[in-house]
Each structure stands twice: as structure tokens, then as C-alpha cells.
């Protein structure tokens, strides 16, 4: 997918700080959780951007900001050139049609008291101009067929479906308004291994069919590599390295990316004794009080004085090769092959 197509989503310096308050009657702010702290990227039509990182790095907050479910502290999210973060009322509603979401847990993201037809058809109730009332049922059945479910099951309830089928229902709901962008927040991690491949294939096929742009958030690095054109690695609210899948997986230059990749167990026992592992010590620091300078320096084996003083910017560096990385001592190295 090297042909550059138009940019459908542009994110500029996105920041979200959640205030930390103290006191019951008179709340005063004593600090902030810096969940997302200056993230910028672009997404083109038909492209998939994978976002990886550990829990607490701000992946899901990023997804909520893109969906305009949270208002950012500062920064812009431009959907087809229009800023969704300042949009209001009818304009916001109209913009939301274009950016939809598939949730992680298909067991809690579907209302157990609604039939599948009602769940998938609900977007049409809200955006009534998309499909005229009389055609809605037919349209829902078409959607069921698109995601590989039996259209006759339109009157069933979520509990009558398995996990994989429920995730398909969630995907059908995301597709209902024919969006250009779909945000998938850990779409396969709650599913059984044998079902994951089915849902991955479905997402892949839908992308080709409808030329969708995906933001694919996941912690399973081999799944991300399979589906993504580009991959962004996040650590404590910042992107530390961005590149094509080959750049990130074969020539990672940020120490965190290298550690992350080398920590992934390789599903092949051959030569496991010789495999080199970078095992990070400790846990990520709290986003309420991130380290000065480079946020990764507290767990980094390359850290020096400059790392505490100066924050490394996400830029292309001499040693990092061809893609931007946020490390003073970036050096591309082929740590481990995550297949």
C-alpha cells in the first residue's frame, strides 16, 4: 500500500491531562494524569496504523479522543480537514458518522436486552438520514451477511452468540454508517486463539472491500504486524517510534521498542536457549508523575545525564535509519524477529 492516498485523519499535538483532585467539598487540583501528552500522526484512506504499548500508555485514551468521547486538553484531531475536538451539535454528530469504533470486549459492549437487529440498527435511529426507515431492516440484514453471520438471526439476542460472533456483531455496528475510519481497540484479544484468525481475516477483507482506514490498537505484536501498514509505539502518553511495519519490526531503533519486541515469546522452540532477551526491570512509572526528560530513562540501559535533562523529540536521526524515533542514543538493531 505504498501509493499515497489522501489523508483522512490528522492528529496534531494531542494532549489529554486528567486532573487529580483532593478534598470532598472544595476540590482543588493537585496534579494531572498525563494520559496522552503530545501525539501527532496522519492516517490515509485505506491505511492501517497499528498502535502498540503497555497498559497505561494512553492507547485507549487516544482512541476516545479520536472518537470525540473525551475533549482534549489541547491539540487537534482533523477528520477530513475539520477539527472534531471543537465541533458541536449537528456538526459533531455529522462528523461522528465518519469515525466509528469496534470495542475490545464483545461480552460487555452489546446491550443484552436488545436484539441484534436493534443493536446494529441503532446507528440508523440516531443518524436517521442515512437509511430511510423502511429499508433499515433490509440494510441490517445486509450488514449481517457482510460480517459472515446468518441474516435470519436478526431477532436473536447477544447471549445466543459465541464470542467471535458477537465481535462480528460489533463490527457490523461499526460499519453501519459507512465510516471512512474505524478504530479497533483490542478487537481480538478477548477471543479464543482459533477465533482470532477468523476475525482478523474479516477485518482485512472489509478494509479492502470498503477502503477503510483503521487505527488498530493491540498489545499482541504479531497480530499488529500482520494487519498494519505503519506501526506507532507508545510509552507513557507519547509516541516513541513510528515507522512502517518492516522498519519497526526489523530495524527498531528506540530501546523501548527493542525491549518490547524481544519480550514477545516466539512460537518456535528451536534455538530458544540462544535467544537474546532484553528484560526490562520494574514497571512503567506513573503517568501522574512522569520522569523528566526522556520518560523511558528510568528503565533504559542506555540512559545518561542528557536523558534526564533533555526530552528527545520524535524525529529522524542519523543512526535510526529512515524512520522517526524519540531517543538520544537511537540505534537501529535487529533484536528479534517477531513473526
Amino acid at each position: 500500500m505504498a501509493t499515497p492516498s489522501e489523508v483522512v485523519l490528522e492528529v496534531r499535538d494531542l494532549v489529554k491531562h486528567f486532573p487529580l483532585t483532593q478534598g470532598i467539598l472544595y476540590k482543588r487540583q493537585v496534579g494531572a494524569i498525563k494520559a496522552v501528552d503530545g501525539v501527532s500522526f496522519e492516517l490515509r484512506r485505506g491505511e492501517t496504523l497499528g498502535v502498540v504499548g503497555e497498559s497505561g500508555c494512553g492507547k485507549s485514551t487516544l482512541a476516545k479522543l479520536l472518537m470525540a468521547l473525551e475533549r482534549p486538553t489541547s491539540g487537534k484531531v482533523l477528520v477530513n480537514g475539520k477539527d472534531i475536538t471543537t465541533a458541536k451539535g449537528a456538526e459533531l454528530k455529522h462528523m461522528r458518522r465518519n469515525i466509528q469504533m469496534v470495542m475490545q470486549d464483545p461480552y460487555t459492549s452489546l446491550n443484552p436486552r436488545m436484539t441484534v437487529g436493534d443493536i446494529i440498527g441503532e446507528p440508523f435511529e440516531i443518524h436517521s438520514e442515512v437509511v430511510p426507515k423502511g429499508d433499515r431492516r433490509k440494510r441490517v440484514q445486509e450488514l449481517l451477511e457482510v460480517v459472515g453471520l446468518n441474516p435470519d438471526h436478526i431477532n436473536r439476542y447477544p447471549h445466543q452468540f459465541s464470542g467471535g460472533q458477537r465481535q462480528r456483531i460489533g463490527i457490523a455496528r461499526g460499519l453501519a454508517l459507512q465510516p471512512e475510519i474505524i478504530i479497533c481497540d483490542e478487537p481480538v484479544s478477548a477471543l479464543d486463539v482459533s477465533i482470532q484468525a477468523q476475525v482478523m481475516n474479516l477485518l482485512d477483507g472489509l478494509q479492502k472491500e470498503f477502503n477503510l482506514a483503521y487505527i488498530f490498537i493491540a498489545h499482541d505484536l504479531s497480530v499488529v504486524r500482520h494487519i498494519s501498514d505503519r506501526v506507532a509505539v507508545m510509552y507513557l502518553g507519547k509516541m516513541v517510534e513510528v515507522g512502517t511495519d518492516n522498519q519497526i519490526y526489523d530495524r527498531p531503533s528506540h530501546p523501548y521498542t527493542q525491549a518490547l519486541l524481544s519480550a514477545v515469546p516466539v512460537p518456535d522452540p528451536e534455538g530458544r536457549e540462544q535467544r537474546e532477551r532484553i528484560i526490562l526491570q520494574g514497571d512503567p512509572p506513573s503517568p501522574a508523575n512522569p520522569p523528566s526528560g526522556c520518560r523511558f530513562r528510568t528503565r533504559c540501559w542506555k540512559a545518561q545525564d542528557i536523558c534526564a535533562e533533555q526530552e528527545p523529540l520524535l524525529e529522524i536521526r542519523a543512526q535510526s535509519g529512515d524512520h522517526p524515533t524519540a531517543c538520544h542514543f537511537a540505534e537501529a538493531s535487529d533484536v528479534v524477529h517477531v513473526s
Binding site: 503497555e54 497498559s55 459465541s162 467471535g164 460472533q165 479464543d192 486463539v193 482459533s194 477465533i195 482470532q196 484468525a197 477468523q198 482478523m200 481475516n201 482485512d204 477483507g205 498489545h219 505484536l221 504479531s222 497480530v223 504486524r225 500482520h226 511495519d245 519490526y249 525491549a259 518490547l260 524481544s262 519480550a263 514477545v264 515469546p265 516466539v266 512460537p267 518456535d268 522452540p269 528451536e270 530458544r272 532477551r277 528484560i279 526490562l280 526491570q281 520494574g282 514497571d283 524477529h337 517477531v338 513473526s339
Partner: protein, 344 residues
């Protein structure tokens, strides 16, 4: 029955067979909707210093088997219909609860998936670790607390002395899992069952925990039963692997053999559905259909509705666990074809 007690611990090998043997275990759940046969004739064994991986999806019976070994299965609705669980040659299922309690913790210990819900939120972690020593060893509070601090050091919790009085919610996920591990190794068990110990953790923390487990195993020569659904984790640490499907073991093998050339269509399908770099952009191989409903198991081979090798025989006859060579087995009528790799 004294041979299960800790006195015999030093005399490793007083009993000729494997350290822990599960033999033809059948467990059912009696529910209003009918009888769910969660475990249907599972047989596996683990020796000192050995790592057995039990691989399977949700509902395959891997956790129920582990709970039965530990004797923490809820009965009712659970019911052990048949089988033996031998620890150093003694059938645990026949022991009175009192004796069983001694084995639990000292002979066999278990780590659970979700450390936050496995720990008691209203007691300090040190108190919970020390409980093992107070109850099983009759130590005083002060001595037990000292032991707890030692253990927290051993599982590498920083500043153990200061943190011994902290509560579970004050620890991160990885640290909580370390506390669980500290509790489980407190009494030097001979077999440790780890039920999805890293599933809820991030990959970098997962690597830390797996390394810790491997180290503890080396130090004390424990037998480790690792229950997981992650083919990567298995490939990293296991010696032997038992693949479970629909309450049965469908393939038994040395880990290298299974990854090189699986002998059961289900194991083969799982391995082929892993995304690989050279297949990027192509459709992933996916096992068709979905896992069986335990209340309504398919006839014959439980995997037949999803199997590319299916023939008429599979619908009617339950395949026995065919011996392929030595310890290797496959519960497939057509294991030869699967090994050769030509699907129908």
C-alpha cells in the same frame, strides 16, 4: 499415607513413577441445562524439574483439571466421575480432606491468572504470605512475617521490608503476580501449577514473570504445569506439551516435535493460524467454526465439525489416543495423514 508428607521430600525418588500423575480423569458439571462433561479422560504426568504445558482454549477443560488436582473444584455442581490423581503414588482423590490439606501448599501449589481477585483486598500482602507459615508450620506472627519478607525478596519485590504491610491494591499487576508466586512457593512445593500466570500482564512484565518462574524452578527442581493458550509462551519454556480440546487431550508431545510437525489437526490449525511475516497481506489460516458446546458435544471426535481431515469415521467413532512413538500421542484417526500434511 505418610509418603505424601514433607518428611519424604528430601528422599526424592522413593516412588518409581512420575511425581504427579493424572490418570483418566473425568469431571462433570451437573447444571439445570444438563450435564456438561468438562473433562473426559485426561491423562498426563509431570516429573521433578520438568515443565508441562497444557494448551487449550476456554472451555477445553484445562483449568478444571488443575482445580481438581488442587482439590478446589466446586462440588456441586462439579463431580469427579472417574479417574485418579496420584501424587508420589498416592491417589489424592481418596484422601480425607485433612490429609489433602497438607498436600495443598506443601506438595502442590497453584498460581492463578488474576492476582487482584486471588488476593484478599482487606489484608496486607505480607500477612497473606505469612499465613502459610502460621497455619502450616505453626510459626509465631513475628517469625512468619520475617519469612514473608524473605520470600518477597526472593521474588524480587523491591523494598520488601517497607512493602510488607501494603495492601494488594497498592501494587502493580506484575508485583501482585509476584506476591502470588511468593505465596505459592512459600512451603517449597514439589509441583507448581500456574494457570495462565501472565495472561493479564503486559509483554515486558510477562517476560519478567516467566524468567522468575524458570529461575525458581531451577533452584528448587519443581515440576511445573503451565496452563496457557499462548503458543509463544509454550515454545519458550515447556519441555512437554498436552493440547486439550473439548475436555480431552488431543495431542501429547515433546515441545520440539509438536512445533516441528503436529500430529493432530487442531494443533496443526493453531500453529498455522499464527500470523507470520512471510505471509503478510495474505489471508490467515483460520480454523473454521467455533469451540464445541460442552452441553452438546459433537458425536465421535469433538473436533470433526471443524476438521479439514474429516471422514465418516470421525462422526461416529471417538478416536483413542494413538501412540505415535514413545511418549507422543495423537487422538486422531488420521494422524498419519496429518503428519504427512495432506488434507482432504
Amino acid at each position: 499415607m505418610t509418603e505424601v508428607l514433607p518428611e519424604s521430600k528430601s528422599s526424592n525418588g522413593t516412588y518409581g513413577g512420575a511425581l504427579l500423575e493424572v490418570d483418566n480423569l473425568h469431571v462433570e458439571f451437573h447444571t439445570r441445562a444438563g450435564v456438561a462433561k468438562a473433562v473426559n479422560g485426561v491423562t498426563y504426568s509431570v516429573n521433578a524439574g520438568e515443565t508441562l504445558a497444557v494448551l487449550g482454549e476456554s472451555g477445553s477443560g484445562k483449568s478444571v483439571t488443575a482445580q481438581t488436582i488442587m482439590g478446589i473444584l466446586d462440588m456441586p455442581p462439579g463431580k469427579i466421575a472417574n479417574g485418579e490423581i496420584r501424587f508420589r503414588g498416592t491417589d489424592l482423590l481418596k484422601l480425607p480432606e485433612e490429609e489433602r490439606r497438607k498436600v495443598r501448599g506443601e506438595g502442590i501449589a497453584m498460581i492463578f491468572q488474576d492476582a487482584l481477585s486471588a488476593l484478599n483486598p482487606v489484608f496486607p500482602v505480607g500477612w497473606q504470605i505469612a499465613e502459610m507459615f502460621r497455619i502450616h508450620r505453626g510459626m509465631s506472627r513475628a517469625d512468619a512475617k520475617k519469612k514473608a519478607i524473605e520470600l518477597m525478596d526472593r521474588v524480587r519485590i523491591p523494598a520488601a521490608k517497607e512493602r510488607v504491610s501494603d495492601y494488594p491494591h497498592q501494587f502493580s499487576g506484575g508485583m501482585r503476580q509476584r506476591i502470588m508466586i511468593a505465596m505459592s512457593i512459600a512451603l517449597d512445593p514439589e509441583v507448581l501449577i500456574a494457570d495462565e500466570p501472565t495472561t493479564a500482564l503486559d509483554v515486558t512484565v510477562q517476560a519478567q514473570i516467566m524468567e522468575l518462574l524458570a529461575e525458581l524452578q531451577r533452584e528448587s527442581n519443581m515440576g511445573l504445569i503451565l496452563i496457557t493458550h499462548d503458543l509463544g509462551v509454550v515454545a519458550d519454556v515447556a519441555d512437554k506439551i498436552a493440547v486439550m480440546y473439548g475436555g480431552r487431550i488431543v495431542e501429547n508431545a515433546e515441545v520440539h516435535d509438536l512445533y516441528r510437525n503436529p500430529a493432530h489437526p487442531y494443533a496443526k490449525g493453531l500453529l498455522e493460524s499464527i500470523p507470520r511475516v512471510d505471509l503478510k497481506g495474505q489471508e490467515l489460516y483460520a480454523i473454521k467454526g467455533m469451540p464445541p458446546n460442552l452441553l452438546d458435544m459433537p458425536t465421535g471426535c469433538a473436533f470433526h465439525p471443524r476438521c479439514p481431515y474429516r471422514q465418516e469415521k470421525c462422526v461416529t467413532d471417538v478416536p483413542p489416543l494413538h501412540t505415535i512413538s514413545g511418549t507422543r500421542g495423537s487422538a486422531c484417526h488420521f494422524w498419519r495423514e496429518v503428519l504427512d500434511g495432506d488434507a482432504q
